[in-house]
């Protein structure tokens, strides 16, 4: 089989499999969270029930453009993951990811609701907080493997974690922001369901909200894919570490209170500037000398 055919199969598997896996992961997340809080928790399929229910609700939008933005959010999120799993350019992947989140912010900004408005602003702050570390991750992977292509990075013989331990820790740190977990779930959260805590999604309802939910599943699988890249030399180890990382995020989520946006910004940038930058410099000198 040619490489194009294999790539096509992987992308199709991703398109079908990612929402299923992402949904199951979200279901497990809710069960584990409930157990950590001493509750029994919903069935694993609960996220799918939620999305299917949202699909069957009445369609309503506060303005004409809102649904377009959310659709673009979903589309670019799928695109991000598809390029990533096809072994494409990591920079293209990361910029598509940013574009996707900007569409969600635009969707939230397009309504006049103050909660949605502030939620969108807080989402922008979050984007600003995690973006440096994401770029450092891409730069680090390039320095270590001399390629921006995910396929080359995944095929790299030495374990990436060996070169990039600091960047890995930094990436897991900002992953908490990306997964919308406490203490950094500023713009919208999976748990509390009131007012500002759900800011970003206040004005979305029914099928539109379902689209956002599905986009999050795609996003989570893609993010765990990046975690996997650090351990790609051994696929089994990679998957185990990705799952362990997700478990760690759930643990952090349940044991931390939400912090202010100032602290989120500062800490994410400090982590990027120390762990990320130091690691980058060390790799640069180690490999170029």
């Amino acid at each position: 089989m040619t490489t194009t055919a294999i790539t096509a199969i992987i992308v199709i598997l991703y398109l079908i499999g990612a929402p299923i896996l992402g949904g199951i992961l979200a279901g497990l997340d809710r069960i584990i969270t409930a157990r950590m809080q001493g509750r029994y928790g919903p069935p694993v399929w609960q996220p799918f029930y939620d999305v299917l229910k949202l699909m069957s609700k009445e369609k309503a939008a506060v303005n004409k453009t809102q649904n377009f933005y959310v659709f673009c959010f979903l589309l670019f999120m799928i695109f991000t993951g598809a390029v990533f799993f096809a072994g494409g350019d990591l920079l293209l992947v990361l910029f598509a990811l940013t574009l996707a989140s900007i569409f969600l912010v635009l969707g939230a900004f397009s309504s006049n609701s103050p909660y949605s408005f502030i939620g969108a602003e807080r989402e922008l702050i979050q984007t600003m907080a995690y973006e440096p570390m994401v770029l450092i991750t891409a730069a680090g992977m390039y320095l270590a493997t001399k390629s921006f292509f995910v396929a080359d990075i995944a095929a790299f013989s030495t374990p990436l974690i060996y070169y990039l331990p600091g960047i890995f820790i930094g990436f897991v740190y900002i992953l908490t922001i990306k997964f919308r977990k406490s203490p950094f779930d500023l713009s919208t959260s999976h748990h509390a369901h009131q007012e500002l805590v759900k800011g970003l999604t206040t004005e979305f309802s029914g099928p539109t909200l379902a689209m956002i939910e599905i986009a999050h599943w795609y996003e989570n699988i893609f993010l765990l894919g990046i975690v996997y890249l650090f351990f790609a030399f051994n696929p089994l180890l990679g998957v185990i570490v990705a799952l362990l990382t997700y478990f760690l995020e759930i643990l952090i989520d349940n044991s931390n209170a939400r912090v202010t946006w100032q602290l989120t910004m500062k800490s994410a940038w400090i982590v990027a500037a120390t762990l990320g930058m130091a690691n980058l410099i060390i790799v640069f000198f180690k490999l170029s000398v």
Binding site: A34, Y40, P42, Q46, E58, H193, L209
Partner: protein, 144 residues
């Protein structure tokens, strides 16, 4: 069949209750009763909610608010009156500012008696509401 019955999201509004019923509603979320087992989530957003749970009687000032919340909810939707106050006005019935039960303002589908309504009966009432939700969905589906 729809999945409405498997994932009912609830919004709780407190009319002029004594807070007894409110605390019982919140007790349903605790580890003791854990309504999330049934996929029930307590949202604060009428646009996300399927079930409007109202505790306490209706007075002049909260009539427009209840109507507003009800109008913002998307079809199909169900209203549940929790406690004897929400059902008929209860001990506040004679007050000069009280209109009576919730059904004076918006159509109510399920009445849960009790002063205060116990968490068990609240959960029972919500489950009854799910049947109504399913029926309404069928009617609504025909309209669509």
């Amino acid at each position: 069949m729809s999945y409405l019955a498997k994932s009912p999201w609830l919004i709780h509004y407190d009319g002029s209750s004594c807070n007894g019923c409110d605390i019982e509603v919140l007790a349903c979320l605790t580890p003791m009763y854990d309504v999330e087992r049934f996929g029930i989530i307590n949202t604060g957003n009428p646009k996300h909610a399927d079930i409007l749970a109202i505790t306490g009687s209706v007075n002049e000032q909260n009539i427009p608010i209840i109507k507003n919340i009800y109008d913002q909810m998307l079809e199909p939707k169900v209203v549940i009156a929790i406690g004897i106050c929400a059902t008929s006005g209860g001990i506040f019935r004679e007050c000069y500012n009280v209109q009576g039960g919730v059904d004076q303002v918006i159509p109510v589908d399920v009445y849960i008696p009790g002063c205060a309504a116990r968490p068990e009966s609240i959960i029972d009432g919500v489950v009854k509401g799910l049947g109504v939700l399913e029926e309404k969905y069928k009617k609504y589906g025909k309209k669509r």
